[in-house]
Amino acid sequence: MSIENLKTYDPFAEADDDSGQTKQTQEYIHIRIQQRNGRKTLTTVQGIPSRFDHKKILKVVKKIFACNGTIISDTESKGMGEVIQLQGDQRLKIKEFLISKDEGLGLNEKTIKVHGF
């Protein structure tokens, strides 16, 4: 846990669009799972930085994981940004993908939070 009120950054500064760095110092990527009927599940990935092209990510991920999926747009997810939704329990795989430097996004593992059982 970092100390919240001893940050050096200016909270009133505008977030720059390229990196989104100012805005996302404490932003986590949440990977969640939801049960559907039977043994079926959904995996939702929330908070992938906007510098990535979500559509492209989805396209690649669908191919690798052999599952279908959609992007839930900003309006539909009620202010939680674009959410990638995949069919089945893809939590571990998507985490690996997000971290992986070669064939993934190369994100920091600490920014990813995997929820669920």
Partner: protein, 355 residues
């Protein structure tokens, strides 16, 4: 060997544990408690030893290294070393993900047909986490160190022999094998024993004494936090009843609502509380799954991050923030509010909305 035993003991220890079978009282006889402490260690992804490596972790690494070394020299086969490595991994609690990764790496190794040591191959794998890498390095260094130590010992012995001052009893005994009961003061621990004791048993002795003299030492972490295991019953086909939520909450000193909302947020479902204060969760969940969620809850909202004591209070501070106040060390830290995050519409509702 002393060291080996302590390592194993340490490996099976865990910060958050669920009590054993005998304490569980089944309501309907449906629930059977299968989790033994050892199994738990392999399943859990959360351990405090991994987060803040205390002194004990250092010792662990050291003894592990020694173990690995002996095994290497004995068999000199890659699989054995790999097995040792996985065993050692328990101390650092690899998550399932990493284990899987590891298997893949091993397979690759096999595919190459290389019967080399497993360590370099694993280092070659991309996705092993930092934790893992660190561990590997430590092991290696210690290995070298141990080799050097041994070499020094051998030199010393030769020197002794050339000097012609070979001790009567210790001549036959290998320098590297140092036996004896520390408590009774026999063998190398004898009062009038003048032979230099190796670093490893000395270090072991230090920690044994430390644990002995300070039973409630925080960094030793011998006491694990125990709560009764959750009892899960199935109601019908689609609902799960979490029977002893109230009891668990009482033990953790947390409000039922807080735990409930956390459970719902993590499991991505909803539910209600029935007449007997049991929690009814929508969806099928196994006891193990609930256990995992409870474990993360305890780590996030119950244990004190400073002294790791579970004796804490959760209170609402000034600005709608929740604070955890530790009763044993007095530290205070803010915790994040429980957020449900995005949850997709599942089931009939979605169809209704669209259609």
């Amino acid at each position: 060997m002393d060291a080996e035993q302590t390592t194993q003991k340490r490996a099976s220890r865990k910060s958050v544990a669920f009590t054993d079978e005998k304490l569980v009282v089944d309501a309907d006889g449906n629930v059977t408690m299968v989790a033994s402490p050892n199994d738990d260690t392999k399943e859990t992804a959360m351990s405090h030893t991994a987060r803040t490596p205390p002194l004990s972790a250092a010792l662990e690494a050291f003894t592990d290294a020694a173990q690995a070394h002996t095994e290497l020299s004995a068999a000199d086969s890659a699989p054995a070393a790999a097995a040792a490595a996985t065993d050692n991994g328990d101390g650092l609690d690899l998550s399932l993900l990493k284990k899987k990764k590891k298997k893949v790496a091993k397979k690759d190794d096999d595919a190459e047909g290389g019967d080399e040591a497993a360590a370099p191959a694993e280092e070659g794998a991309i996705d092993l986490s930092m934790k893992k890498k660190k561990k590997k390095k430590v092991v290696k260094e210690d290995d070298e160190f141990a080799k050097k130590l041994e070499a020094l010992n051998i030199e010393g012995k030769e020197g002794d022999e050339t000097a012609g001052a070979a001790p009567a009893a210790g001549a036959a005994a290998d320098e590297s094998v140092q036996d004896g009961d520390m408590e009774k003061g026999t063998g190398i621990w004898g009062h009038d024993e003048s032979k230099p004791i190796n670093y490893e048993p000395l270090l072991g002795r230090f920690f044994a004494l430390l644990a002995q003299k300070n039973p409630d030492h925080a960094s030793t972490g011998t006491r694990s936090y125990k709560i009764p295991p959750p009892q899960c019953l199935r109601e019908g086909n689609k609902k799960t009843i979490f029977a002893n939520l109230a009891e668990i909450c009482k033990r953790m000193k947390r409000a039922d609502e807080h735990v409930t909302s956390y459970l719902f947020a993590e499991l991505g479902t909803s539910g209600s509380v029935d007449g007997a204060r049991r929690l009814v969760i929508k969806g099928r969940f196994q006891q193990k799954q609930i256990e995992n969620v409870l474990r993360t809850y305890i780590i996030e909202y119950v244990t004190c991050k400073t002294c790791r004591s579970p004796n804490t209070d959760l209170s609402k501070g000034e600005n709608r923030l929740y604070f955890i106040t530790c009763n044993s060390c007095g530290s205070r830290r803010s915790v994040q509010a429980i957020k449900t995050g995005f949850s997709a519409q599942v089931g009939k509702r979605r169809k209704m909305q669209q259609g």
